[in-house]
């Protein structure tokens, strides 16, 4: 079966674009998460027609399809399970058209986020989503995970910047969803596709919304003697009605390692550093800056410093965006969580994490999209010591449960993938999960596309396999969330 699939693929793609060597398969067995899976074959198509052929061959030969961009996902969304064909979209890397007057661009999924931004900058435009991996992650991957990033505080997540998505469905048909504008008729199925993590199809083109670059940008760096002071400032900035573009918090452990790499001038003695970016018209930026500085002073900020020039600003962001990659300089292994709490309860959430760290005797470092209440607690460990992993997993679950009790969520921006799949029942009822599964089945009734991700494949918990989901109904607040 696999040999036959390989022959079929090689006939279409040529032998250089089909990988079957055990070592190659191993390298595609993981993304940027802490999990390693395995696959049977890897295909690297160069255009939509080849993607269609790959999907058809997988279906004919009984292989599941795992779409993959640059493999920078943190939740195991493109970690393959046995019996799958990995379809890599990195060679679909053309920017098809840029229409500044319509504020839109059509791109292929393998275009790197930052490459697109670089092309747009001379036009005074940008593609707003800025995940920390923006230098290496693909637009297709951003769409598939509904990626966030520091600036989603003001600009929203990827879903707010996508007009249309072209998808190869499990049966090999090509469908476009959405149109060249925010309003397309009928159900807004874009919302299903964006963040679907490869479970409904392979993305082959994306129409993105372009945003004008702001007239003025200012980054303030604030240092604090305690993490709580820092979190308090964040809550007050939000409460005061100020509208920063981004508010990021890092604790001392993180600041120290990123400073070694980025040389941004972070205060390495502060217990917490907050970056606040203000943008808009110059006058507004100046007024907001004064207001933020006043709040910071009243909370005992030990450092209040504005980026001196665009290069300094870039270094400050470079430090923040490299934080995840720099962790091995603290501990050999770590697990990173992606929990969310209502942003007014940030201080409480940080305290809850502190309790877990103390009880379990673990080192937990913090990178926080503070403005969104999105925490990334990083639990350090050394996998060579027996039982360490289980210990960390138990501690992580305690953190997740604590955040859910505050009215939060299991994932802010990394997606569910494989890593957080088993937390889904903590947030959703059986009926909710079945309804999700039904939506997915409407796109892919035979479960070819990235099975086992987001939702477990092991038996539906409730109701029939397709059609209506008995008992599923929104609660009084109109939310599907429990």
């Amino acid at each position: 079966m696999i040999a036959a699939a390989r022959r079929d693929l090689e006939e279409i793609l040529g032998s250089g674009a089909v990988l079957s060597d055990p070592l190659a398969l191993r390298l595609y067995g993981r993304d940027a998460s802490m999990l390693e899976g395995s696959c049977e074959l890897v295909a690297i198509p160069s255009n939509r027609e080849q993607v269609v052929a790959c999907v058809r061959i997988a279906r004919r030969r009984g292989l599941a399809v795992v779409p993959r961009g640059a493999g920078t996902g943190l939740a195991g969304g493109s970690t393959p399970l046995p019996g799958s064909l990995v379809i890599v979209t990195t060679r679909l890397q053309r920017i098809l058209e840029i229409r500044p007057e319509d504020r839109l661009a059509w791109v292929e999924p393998g275009v790197l986020n930052l490459d697109l931004k670089r092309r747009l900058a001379p036009l005074g435009l940008t593609f707003a989503p800025d995940p920390a991996s923006e230098a290496s992650s693909t637009i297709g991957g951003n769409v598939a995970t509904n990626a966030g990033g520091p600036h989603c505080l003001a600009y929203g997540v990827t879903a707010n910047h996508i007009f249309a998505v072209e998808l190869v469905l499990a049966d090999g048909t090509v469908q476009s969803f959405g149109g060249e504008g925010p309003e397309a008729g009928g159900y807004d199925l874009r919302g299903v596709i964006i963040g679907s993590e490869g479970t409904v199809g392979v993305i082959t083109a994306v129409c993105v919304r372009l945003t004008a670059l702001p007239e003025a940008v200012q980054v303030l760096m604030l240092g604090f003697a305690t993490v709580d002071d820092a979190a308090g400032v964040v809550s007050e900035v939000i409460a005061a009605g100020l509208t920063p573009a981004a508010i990021e918090l890092m604790d001392r452990a993180i600041v120290r390692v990123v400073e070694d790499f980025a040389h941004a001038g972070y205060p390495v003695d502060a217990e917490a550093v907050v970056l606040i970016e203000l943008d808009g018209l110059q006058g507004g930026v100046d007024r907001q800056r004064q207001a933020v500085e006043q709040i910071a002073r009243s909370h005992g900020a030990t450092v209040i410093q504005a980026a001196s020039d665009p290069a300094h600003r870039a270094r400050l962001w470079k430090g923040r965006k490299s934080a995840h990659g720099a962790i091995t300089r603290i501990a050999p292994d770590f697990l990173q969580y992606d929990v969310v709490v209502p942003r007014t309860r940030l201080v409480e959430a940080l305290a809850a994490v502190r309790v877990v760290a103390r009880d379990e005797g673990l080192i937990i470092a913090h990178i926080v999209h503070a403005g969104d209440g999105n925490l990334h607690p990083l639990i350090m460990y050394d996998r060579r010591s027996p039982g360490a992993l289980e210990h960390v997993l138990a501690a992580g679950e305690r953190i997740v449960r604590a955040c859910l009790e505050m009215g939060g969520s299991i994932s802010g921006e990394h997606g569910i993938g494989l890593e957080k799949r088993d937390f889904m029942p903590l947030m959703f009822s059986a009926a909710d999960l079945d309804l999700n599964d039904d939506v997915r089945a409407a796109f892919d009734p035979v479960r070819t596309m990235n099975p086992g991700k987001i939702l477990s494949d092991v038996g539906r918990s409730h109701g029939p396999a397709a059609g209506h989901a008995a008992g599923a109904a929104p609660d009084e607040a109109g939310s599907w969330r429990r």
Partner: protein, 422 residues
């Protein structure tokens, strides 16, 4: 995250009792391998990943392959060798790595492993060429003397990579001692290089003149190849022997500084501390423009050209993290505008012997680089590394544009001579 994972999925890490599949003592260390978290921030900086979009041709993928061997899940075999051989060794990934992974060291270790499994003939070619020939400068000179006669008969691919060597130059070695102009500021010892000394001796002469002009007594101790190519192609033992010879020779020369005009060689000599525990030598090594920038230099009266495109050799920009110094020095030459080359941080494809062993990838990178150089509209491009110079010359020739490739020392030398003529 749950500890109940689906079948076929596991958390990263070695199983208890795993036995590494390494074959030599020079293998990559577990500690270096573990410093990579796999975040992927290196990917867009890797020229081979950019060309292929393939994880197996990326720094993260190569480190994952090393990890697989160290965890006993893969062997040092033909596939492993292929992945390592496809790496340029440009180290652009190191600049982008927040974990500061020592990729160059990992790759040298992996190449040593690959050497152990190479076919006998391939190994013989490398040992003869890199371990033995490069270590005997007289032999390189002797062979180079035949080049003018052999060159026309070389296959076109090779011919364009071999410069025209003048027999008159070959007959006149660089003097062992050159006295400074004016009062002496100190003594510098110069590495003349292996291939550089035979094929690009005018560059060495220009280097000596520029240094002497700036008040340095220049000595050329008897020396051997720096060992860079030998180390990067899997013979760390031979590279250590060469390094030890040079360290002894340069220590004996008792110079204040060791100045090197080829980026690949200065990068290697700066590694002598780690490679053979000679930090006393390594700490005195400076690349030429880095040296002039640190010590200051006499401004020429004017420039022989109005605009130059500046090429950053990977082993200057990435391996030594030197970006500002060349710009600072050239910026002080009156009437000279330094023009940046688009995608200037991307390798030209020369990469040691990559353009011999991996012609397909090397040619694609060469064409990109040549096109970007041509797009600057400059008539001169500066390249402070002989491999880059050869590669860019070949690329420009193929493109059919008339751009002269000079070493920065040659430009400064011309500027001084021009001012001397007044």
């Amino acid at each position: 995250m749950s500890s109940k994972l689906p079948a076929g999925v596991r958390f990263l890490g070695a199983e208890p009792g795993a036995v590494a599949g390494w074959l030599t003592h020079d293998a990559p260390t577990d500690r270096d391998i573990a410093s990579c978290v796999g975040c992927g921030l290196c990917l867009p900086h890797c020229p081979t990943y950019r060309l292929t979009g393939d994880e197996t041709a990326s720094p993260r993928g190569r480190i994952a392959a090393m990890r697989a061997v160290s965890e006993g899940r893969a062997a040092v075999d033909a596939t492993f060798s292929r992945y390592m051989d496809l790496c340029l060794g440009c180290r652009a990934c190191e600049d982008a790595c927040p974990s500061l992974v020592p990729y160059g060291r990992l790759l040298d270790g992996a190449k040593a492993e690959v050497m152990a499994v190479r076919a006998r003939r391939a190994r013989l070619v490398r040992v003869l060429g890199l371990d033995i020939l490069l270590d005997h400068k007289w032999a390189i000179t002797a062979l180079s003397a035949y080049l003018p006669f052999v060159r026309p008969f070389l296959p076109p691919r090779l011919r364009r990579l071999v410069p025209r060597v003048s027999l008159r130059e070959l007959a006149r070695p660089i003097p062992a001692v050159t006295l400074p102009k004016g009062h002496a500021r100190g003594t510098v010892a110069v590495l003349t290089g292996c291939i550089q000394d035979s094929w690009f001796r005018p560059i060495n002469r220009a280097t000596v003149r520029v240094l002497a002009r700036n008040g340095w007594k220049v000595v050329v101790p008897p020396q051997t190849c720096c060992g860079a190519l030998t180390a990067h192609y899997g013979s760390l033992g031979a590279a250590r022997r060469m390094a030890a010879k040079n360290a002894a020779a340069f220590a004996l020369a008792d110079a204040d500084w060791i100045v090197v005009n080829s980026a690949g060689c200065s990068a290697q000599m700066k590694e002598y501390g780690e490679l053979i525990d000679r930090p006393d030598v390594a700490s005195r090594v400076r690349d030429l423009l880095e040296f002039l920038d640190e010590q200051g230099f006499e401004q020429p009266a004017g420039s022989p050209v109005a605009r130059v495109a500046l090429h950053d050799p990977c082993h200057l920009l990435h391996a030594q993290r030197i970006f500002a110094a060349p710009r600072s020095v050239l910026g002080q030459v009156p009437g000279l505008e330094v023009v940046e080359i688009a995608d200037g941080d991307r390798c030209c494809g020369s990469a040691g012997l990559y353009n011999l062993f991996e012609p397909a990838g090397a040619d694609r990178l060469m064409r990109q680089k040549a096109a970007n150089v041509a797009a600057t509209g400059c008539h001169v491009v500066l390249a402070g590394n002989p491999g880059c110079a050869v590669q860019i010359t070949a690329g420009l020739a193929e493109l059919g544009v008339d751009v002269e490739v000079l070493h920065p020392a040659e430009l400064l030398d011309r500027a001084y001579r021009r001012s001397a003529r007044g």
